[in-house]
């Protein structure tokens, strides 16, 4: 019996819920710090910093392990929550004709499953918009480019930047008239000299531009002006999702400690205040980023 208790009992499920939930709170902090670069580091430097950061986050082995733990935590938190909710609904087959739950509990605490489901919907769309594009999409990501003015002629030329800091002119990838292009991009990011089959370097995926054109009103590309009709919708959706997250955290943060058995007069108030502060500040900082990106461009 007790062999399975740690896996199947109602209390064990709450432990898993709390542990995965608190881990995801840590993940939120990490994710937020990464995102804040979008507004605190601006211009070309911001683009460079962010794309290098995105490369680090997708290639560093330690981060990779962390990201798999994060995926598992999200799945486990969702599935466990789903199972708990089913059992909870079964526990009261006949509802009250007249109920006044507001008299004894906070509203967010009673809608954790609904709030969590909405967050899951958001995570799916969010990953489809950015994570999927970064990792799997057959449609290749744009690569990091810089425009540099030639000191002699003053003419502007566009270059790809490689990991080693080399500049490769984008013109090398275009054929001229009858002449075939000297270089080509392979595997999404690798720059190859076609004839000798030699790798000259590897570029950065330009996630920065993807994000900016996703939330920015103006997605002018190659000098062709185009208004981003979807931007306002994207920003509203994102900000709404962050409000949902705030309500989920408002109850969830402190609730996790109670589930883990951490309840003591000496620190209960501290946990509650810390949780509610976290629930406001973290989603608010997340939400402010797309708003600023929308207003700036």
């Amino acid at each position: 019996m007790s062999n399975s208790a740690i896996l199947s009992s109602s209390i064990a499920k709450k432990y898993w819920m709390a542990l995965t939930g608190l881990f995801l709170c840590l993940f939120l902090v990490g994710h937020l710090l990464g995102n804040l670069q979008l507004i605190f580091v601006t211009g070309e430097e911001g683009k460079r910093t962010f794309n290098e950061y995105a490369y680090f986050m997708t290639h560093n082995p330690f981060v990779k392990v962390l990201s798999y733990v994060t995926y598992l935590s999200i799945l486990f938190h969702a599935i466990d929550g789903f199972l708990l909710t089913i059992k909870n609904n079964k526990a009261r087959p006949v509802p009250y004709a007249y109920n006044n739950p507001g008299a004894n509990s906070s509203t967010p605490s009673r809608y954790m499953a609904l709030l969590g489901s909405l967050i899951l919907v958001f995570i799916v769309t969010h990953m489809a918009n950015f994570w999927w594009k970064m990792k799997f999409s057959s449609d290749p990501m744009p690569l990091h480019q810089v425009v540099v003015a030639n000191p002699q002629s003053g003419a502007e030329e566009t270059f790809y930047i490689t990991h080693t800091g080399d500049y490769i002119p984008t013109s090398a990838f275009d054929g001229e008239g009858e002449m075939p292009a000297a270089m080509e991009v392979r595997n999404g990011t690798e720059f190859f000299l076609k004839e000798v089959n030699l790798k000259r370097g590897e570029g950065y995926k330009d996630l920065h531009s993807v994000v900016l054109s996703f939330f920015g009103q103006d997605k002018t590309k190659d000098g062709v002006p185009e208004k981003n009709e979807m931007a306002l919708f994207a920003v509203i959706f994102y900000v709404t999702a962050m409000m949902v997250l705030a309500f989920h955290l408002w109850h969830g943060f402190a609730s996790a400690f109670q589930s883990l058995g951490l309840n003591h007069r000496a620190y209960n108030k501290m946990i509650r205040v810390a949780g509610q502060t976290f629930a406001i500040i973290v989603p608010a900082l997340f939400a402010i980023i797309p708003i600023l990106l929308f207003m700036n461009k």
Binding site: M1, S2, A5, I6, S9, S10, I11, A12, K13, K14, Y15, L84, K87, N88, N89, K90, A91, R92, P93, V94, P95, Y96, A97, Y98, N99, N100, P101, A103, N104, S105, S106, S109, R110, M112, H251, A254, S255, Q258, S259, L260, G261, L262, N263, H264
Partner: protein, 255 residues
Amino acid sequence: MASKFINITLKIWRQKNSQAKGSMETYQLDHVSTDSSFLEMLDQLNEQLISERKEPIAFDHDCREGICGMCSLYINGRAHGPDTGITTCQLHMRMFKDGDTIYVEPWRSAAFPVIKDLVVDRSAFDRIQQAGGFVSVNTSGRTIDANSIPVPKTDADKAFEAAACIGCGACVATCKNGSAMLFVGAKVSQYALLPQGKVEAKNRVLNMVRQMDEEGFGNCTNTGACEIECPKGISLENIARMNREFLSAAISSEN
């Protein structure tokens, strides 16, 4: 306070037996003294029903002084009605106004099936108690005096606070998940805190939690509603203590 008389409308759950389909029925009751308790008001309604040759309403009650845990009732959307720290027998009609409509329903829980009208079967709590809510004492004929075992005052106080649970089921009734964790937490805590209970602590918490799950109670989502509606003020600390006891037992028990 001078006594007043009020006229009220009651909407009460009527159900012939555990198999029958019940429904909310409406009753008009006049000249109810605000000094009467809620149960006395129901007695008055039953007398009226009997004089009209109708079936009186079945409801649980016993001591009528807030210590037995027999009375239940979900009144106007709250367990034991619109007041805190009391059982239904301690609820008085002065909490209501003339012309009020009062909803009276039985505890709603899969583990507490309705027997008749407002009476539910709370033997699920008994089975949880039987699964581990006791201390085994051998009848050797020379049982030592309990007071000879030193107990720290703070532990004794906390155990006493937990033992104040009267098993009325208000925690289950008010919990949006129909969870019995405040009850089980209190029962686990009252023993776990005392040296006499520590001997069997691991098996106790595992067995009681297993029985709780088998009875079909829901899970705790820490809304805190149970703590507010509990007539005996049992604290959420007891649920946290049960969770700690459970974890330590689940990872270290020999069974």
